[in-house]
Symmetry: C2
Subunit: 300 residues, 2 copies
Amino acid sequence: MNLPKQVIIKEVGPRDGLQNEKEEIKTEDKIEWINQLSETGLSYIEMTSFVHPKWIPQLKDALEVSKSVNRKEGITYAALCPNMKGLERALEADVDEVSIFMSASESHNKKNINKSIDETYPVLKEVVDGAKQAGKSVRGYVSTVFGCPYDGHVDKQQVIDVCKNLFDMGIDELSLGDTIGVANPKQVSQFLDLIEGEFSKDQIALHFHDTRGMALANTLVSIEKGYYIFDGSLGGLGGCPYAKGASGNVATDDLVHMLHEMGIDTGLNMDRLLDAGMYIQDKINKPLPSKQMNICSREE
Amino acid sequence: MNLPKQVIIKEVGPRDGLQNEKEEIKTEDKIEWINQLSETGLSYIEMTSFVHPKWIPQLKDALEVSKSVNRKEGITYAALCPNMKGLERALEADVDEVSIFMSASESHNKKNINKSIDETYPVLKEVVDGAKQAGKSVRGYVSTVFGCPYDGHVDKQQVIDVCKNLFDMGIDELSLGDTIGVANPKQVSQFLDLIEGEFSKDQIALHFHDTRGMALANTLVSIEKGYYIFDGSLGGLGGCPYAKGASGNVATDDLVHMLHEMGIDTGLNMDRLLDAGMYIQDKINKPLPSKQMNICSREE
């Protein structure tokens, strides 16, 4: 097996996880949770999204959360910004990194952003330019890389074109998202073979959802091909197994457990990670779907 | 990727799944469920266990279940037999195949069978001989191949010795069990490299539990190494995510979904499989933990 010595985990739970939680979580609890995450060894935390509260009421406190978190040296605190309005607020909060997003499939992009793919580029370009002028690094998310809930199959060349266009704008890192958790290991393997040499592996993250249970298998395929940056949501937050429509990110804790068991360093402290998981599980008041949280909850 | 055209799935849910369900399921419901499983394209169903009802009250109806199932041409209907008493009853029910079991670790064997490993061999030898004399094929299960809940690490040479001793007794197939779901992909890869050439891949099944979410990743590693027989429990029956101590088999439906998506044939009909899953989910009266059943239940 071709395994790396180290893998970098980027925690997106406070944004990608929480945005799927229907019940409102108190601002102070989000801040405390992110502060706990800061003590786990993470080097990257996406704190929130500066999307209009009309779309995601759960994250209407983006500014307060971003401003109030105890920023720890060595950690990149990021926030999602869909447009210039969002960027202004993110800069007001002085986030370390700005993230932007779009879809590789027309229908998902249209439903999610209300624009065609071509209409989206200038909006994002403005955000990237603004972020760069403010001295911020930028992360791009491409959704529906491995399948779209509306279009089904997504053309691989279209995915590559979107990625190239985002890098041409000047983004620093790109996260390839299996937004609806349909990717299978063979598909991931073939796609990564296709883009081999196109982009630097230092600038590509993989963002798997575990809707169909294949996220860890897909991670395995990716690390064997030399990728070493992965997104996760602690406890699988955002994807309750028994809630309609929820399809959560791969659980950071399950990902970390597998990597550690394989002798791969993540820099993360599992006990602290699970403590932070227990904290947010208590706040959402229902069991988190990850296997590690399960084992942990049983032992309490 | 080195992928097979076809994989054989052996359904152990009616035995390994049900034996972990605390609430009693009606005999007629078990029979109906197995009859439904017979219509899914499965070639192998382990129907029950002829273990003493004192140990597993849920399977006290082993004889009635085995006798009453509508046996379908082309399907091997098996039952677990811990000893001669169990074999007698299995033969009375005229099962197609007899399965025997032991652990690769002393402590688990002692706790489970109340004998040392060395004391277990003669008991099993008697069962194998008896089954063979009756013209039955025999499957052996080795538990705790990748880790023991009591001993922790299990010596690989000890595992190999147990496997060899069982094959020497005349068993036809051996199922290597990650009983507590601790195996990681690197460990599976290394173990399979170690036994490369020792046994025929036509006679080795892999039996993963999904306690820590690594079962599909472990399956992927195994098929890439040429193994093509896997055990599963429909819906992940036997492993409720929120029940203390339960650590279910990998869900047949999640396994089949991944394989099909990768273009690997299993001979199984997914719709019928999920229908059978919905049937038993209704009988156990709680959500089955598999991802496919989840998606299926949400759509109902």
